[in-house]
Symmetry: C2
Subunit: 396 residues, 2 copies
Amino acid sequence: MLENPQRSQPNRRLRRVGMVGGGQLARMTAAAAARLDVPFTVLDPDPHCPASAGAHVVVGDPLDASTLLDFANGVDVVTFDHERVPIELVRGLEARGVVVAPGAATAQMAFDKAVARVGLAELGFAVPEFAIVSDAAGIDAFASRHGWPVVAKSARGGYDGRGVMFVGPGESAEAVSTLGAELVVEQMVPFDGEIAVLVARRAAGEIVPYPPVSTVQRDGMCAEVTCPAAVAPPVARAAEELAIRLADAVGLVGVMAVEMFVVGEQLLVNELATRPHNTGHHTIEACVTSQFEQHLRAVLDLPLGSTALRAPAAAMYNVIGSPEADDPTDRLAEALEIDGAHVHLYGKQSRPGRKLGHVTALAATVDEARSIAARAAERLNRSECELSACSVGERA
Amino acid sequence: MLENPQRSQPNRRLRRVGMVGGGQLARMTAAAAARLDVPFTVLDPDPHCPASAGAHVVVGDPLDASTLLDFANGVDVVTFDHERVPIELVRGLEARGVVVAPGAATAQMAFDKAVARVGLAELGFAVPEFAIVSDAAGIDAFASRHGWPVVAKSARGGYDGRGVMFVGPGESAEAVSTLGAELVVEQMVPFDGEIAVLVARRAAGEIVPYPPVSTVQRDGMCAEVTCPAAVAPPVARAAEELAIRLADAVGLVGVMAVEMFVVGEQLLVNELATRPHNTGHHTIEACVTSQFEQHLRAVLDLPLGSTALRAPAAAMYNVIGSPEADDPTDRLAEALEIDGAHVHLYGKQSRPGRKLGHVTALAATVDEARSIAARAAERLNRSECELSACSVGERA
């Protein structure tokens, strides 16, 4: 049996954290919670969800208002592993006095891409040219001003490569039928690179950024993260400052990943996630404080930890389900032969293109770290070419 | 609910590890198991044992032969969090074909101090002068040859400071009544320092040592671990070589901590533990592969990981229950204010002198690491002087 923090330890003064969703982010947060002895529970419909390996799972549908409220009443702070909860339900929790971190006003910037784009623009942050449209004519009109192809994104519900399409001439109707009628349509940004900055803020106001990382998307899915980011120091500083301003502007409580396009000296905000994020998995080994511990510190309003790098360079590769859906645990021994490869597997059933784990390596240079992590990830993925077999828009 | 690896995932090829005992070692091993997706279960009489925060607990008494066998039949490899299982029960498991790692022949070197002393001497390892005695007269006879005071240790069952006494003239009868009649009596070694070497061996024969550490016992309890050890490089190399020879000689499968006295250039083997050990807790942050992941790799016969240090220096301080038995989670915020302090709390009820957690810090120098870790541990311990309020013989 696993101890249920909702029922036991009534006299413990550390507040109980409840995470909505029991995926790999919850699984890794659970490890950080155990280390600090923070009572931690997740809400997930699947009793065998990834977090079940290390957290008590309340089995239930987080999209059901009464289930969600019951769960919230058993903890002291509610936070999120994903963006699939309707923001109205989050507002409903707050209206009943539940402490939600990040709060609904912040979370909707991550839960709804249309709200995010409009909100970021209103707050004065540079974003790609965009429009909020509801039909093929809207996409065509936007493209007539900004050129084809364009990027179309479902406002809500996109994750793991779903909900994002590149749209060429004559493809708008198909995009609407695939993505739904609440769309953000954006210019294809001719970027020099993609970076991400993780930032943490606690209610008391303290904010700390992590060192920016370079990200490589393959067919739209986050495939590789390297640190330090391959940008000039002033660009890295500007990215950190942008993330700090944004955390402050949206009243963040928790960690937030800010993905940006680098265009010359300019930074355009692409995507936000107000939770631990794939672009921060390397922080488990690479930084003094992992994003998972930092998220807990932030939502509990505890002092934030150092985000300093513990090595000159780090690289992270995702382990992606192969077309044959092989189980990566079958090849764990081969991956562990590679010295310095930190293997993380999420306990998920293998499916083609599904994120099943990640590998991090630290080294003296980015190239060396990349080589170690990539070799181990390839062994777990079965074949190197499978790294590029996934679809657009992956963020989890 | 927590997924029970004994029942679920029948098609998973990774072998299931069952750990006897659900203390802090099992808790930290569980985190490593989740990371590698190794199915991991513990056997403990207490459903709220420390490991319950991250592992499925089979509630039962591991000292009961049929309970132990039932547990063993639900996993593929049995290993240990403590030494309190009678070695006959371990032999009984092996006789029934259970894979036990380390095996009974190895484990008895750690489970029984009399067997260890005799075995080490027979294998040609230098140990303090000792005798196996069963009464006060035996202690007095030993002291008449080696001088007072002497150290008396219960052959079995000692842990967390219990089972070890310093014995002066006229105190032998009291020692026997306290410690029982199966005793190892030893000379007080006038050592220059105490070090420990962690070593891992897998069944395939691969052996890797960790860098030696210096240990400081306060009133007999492991209070502080620092790395690198404060010994000359040839002594450090000799200590590693000794640990490798010993791992090979005893047919170790798993990790083993070898505690040694340094007397000039000589190394005397003091204590053994054939499991993850307090002198290796720093490896979570300080080494490429933690002792907990390494133990799992070894017992599953997977390739062993690099034991290289990830920082020039590391220090670990235990968090010990204060005389008032305050809960260290009450002061977590104060401890987390100290940058670079990696706080680990075990979820144990506070009691005076009980190990409740530990703090590790990495730094450029041992002094700097020690300062960071000690300050955070002191905040959690409530008062600095409480670090020295514990009894002799702590090893867990």
